[in-house]
């Protein structure tokens, strides 16, 4: 195993397993998965519906306890933490983008992005600097004081990405972030994530069905029946 610090895994799972006991019949949603994700990766998690993408992302994100196995983030076994510790861990280390309704409807775009930084007790100065930079990045400087219901779906997802990044996490998990977007908005969102990955070396792991999105990933992990079916690096993206 490569032990250089630049390539040390930020995420490592060990025999990760999740079994659901839905309606009497146990379902192995994730089956003994060993996986490493390194800093700066841009990874797509693909596979048919029900293959376990969401379950895997939730467990990596410290949202759902595995049935067995472990998740290490920066060598911290996250399920050894108590409830408040794991929430704080998520706040400081993991950015989330969900499929939809990411933003609080009562807060403006800016306030939504600021929210996590307020929870982190960042100073007003620091918050303002990050907000300014992020809205520049996501191209929504003129939508700063607009509430989510006045934003398009694509704009909302870009604000969600900005919020995910605002806490300066180790990585961002995005579960089908483009599922509710038209193809132009999906492409814009991918452009944004690619740019942040390149410029900021931000690590992204996203699940998707969409072939055009898959094409943009550098690493593609395919899940079938809760197991890793294939794990490949794409050369075309390597050129970046």
């Amino acid at each position: 195993m490569n032990s250089k610090t630049i390539t040390r895994p930020v995420i490592r799972t060990k025999s990760l397993t999740k079994i659901y006991n839905g309606k009497g019949i146990p379902v192995k949603a994730i089956d003994n998965v060993d996986l490493e994700i390194k800093k700066g990766e841009f990874t797509a998690l693909v596979g048919p519906s029900g293959s376990g993408k969401t379950t895997l992302l939730n467990m990596i994100g410290g949202l759902d306890q595995p049935t067995s196995g472990q998740v290490f983030i920066d060598e911290q076994d996250i399920y050894k933490l108590n409830n408040n510790e794991i929430i704080d861990f998520r706040l400081n280390n993991i950015g989330f983008v969900f499929q939809h309704f990411n933003l609080l409807p009562v807060l403006t775009a800016k306030e939504n992005v600021e929210f996590v930084m307020l929870l982190q007790k960042k100073s007003k100065n620091e918050r303002n600097k990050i907000v300014e930079w992020l809205f520049e990045e996501v191209g929504l400087t003129e939508k700063l004081n607009v509430r989510p219901n006045k934003l398009s779906g694509g704009q909302q997802q870009r604000v969600a990405v900005a919020r995910a990044i605002a806490s300066r996490p180790q990585f961002v998990l995005a579960d089908e972030p483009t599922a509710n977007l038209d193809s132009q908005s999906a492409a814009d969102l991918l452009d944004l994530m690619t740019k942040l990955n390149k410029e900021e070396n931000m690590t992204f792991i996203f699940s998707t069905h969409d072939q055009r999105v898959i094409d943009r990933a550098r690493r593609i992990i395919t899940l079938v029946d809760g197991k890793i079916y294939s794990d490949i690096l794409q050369n075309t993206i390597k050129a970046y």
Binding site: I87, F96, F101, L104, V106, L107, V116, L119, K121, S167
Partner: protein, 406 residues
Amino acid sequence: MIRLFLKLAWRNIWRNKRRTLITCSSIMFAVVLAVLLYSVKDGMFEKMIENSVSFFSGSVQIQDSLFFDDRSLDNSFILDSTTKDILVENEEIVSFSTRIESFGLIASDYKTKGAMVIGVDPEQENYITSLKERLIIGSYLNEKDNGVLLGSALAELLSVSANDTIVILGQGFQGASAAGKYPISGIIKLSSPELNRQIIYMPLNLAQDLYGMYDRITTVALKLQHINESENIDNILTAQIPSLNVLNWKEIMPDLDQLIQNEDAENVIFLGILYLLISFGIFGTILMMLHERKFEFGVLNAIGLRNSNLAAIVILENILISLIGSLLGILLSFPVVLYFHINPVRITGDLARVYEDLGFEPVYYFALNADIFINQTLVVLLISIILSFYPAFNLFRLHPVKSMNT
């Protein structure tokens, strides 16, 4: 962070304006009703206490230790100078009046009635009970003549008026029989209907003559600066004057105290039912809110908001709603209470007679006590905090993934 939570809570409650307004107005309605109810109740009783205590008994009385159980003139005493000094030196005691309180039969040319015969020092008594102001016909007591004052209802019962003559028959000190014929110098009208039916005042020296009890009295009535200091002063004087019996107005008139407490209990039951109904309404909106925002709570928890903070936000929302509701209630009821405080409503007709029979003056007095407003706000706040336990408990157990899978 508390500012962030307050901002969130404030904006959240206006997400569903209509629902919040309905909740607020139901709280407002309850507060208005409760405030008015308590204001009238307190007003009526304050007035009743005032009528009986301030205008008659005094807040605290000193008697011979046997007098309370056996109101015989044999259980009378001589007020010595040591006791007098104790009363004079106490700052809370505004003034005091020495009395003979007894019962007698009163006869006019037409009728005979039982009555309370009270011998008082005319000036002292006027100072503590403003007796002179109660005069409606004739002139006030005068130590130099032997005229007496009659309650107006008693005068009516006896079919007499000022300048007529009555005869008082009774039992005097140490078994002597007492009888005397007195001209009526004036008629007084007391606010307490009960007293007005059965009272006769005469100068103290005249009463002492009548009953053959020179220098002796049955009662010292005290006027305090604050009526609610009664129990306190009772305790102090009891310790200072062990040879005599010191009583506060609740002991002097246990029926009145009991009446107030019964009325309190009735109000608590009535308002309890009212608040229970409103609580169901509030609880319903809480359940709807929890259901509607389940996904959002999951997202917030996922991105790093602790369960305890989620609960805090929802509790804040409930507190804000009940604060708005009770504030509106206060704003609405205050002018009403103020108006009727200044302009009490006089009751007429049959209802007035019912009130009089119950011993109330037939007037709706409204008390203007800050306590009433504060208490209702606290009750509403307490209810909303109790009702918040349910969502708080739910949010403490919230699981982000389960919450988002709806």
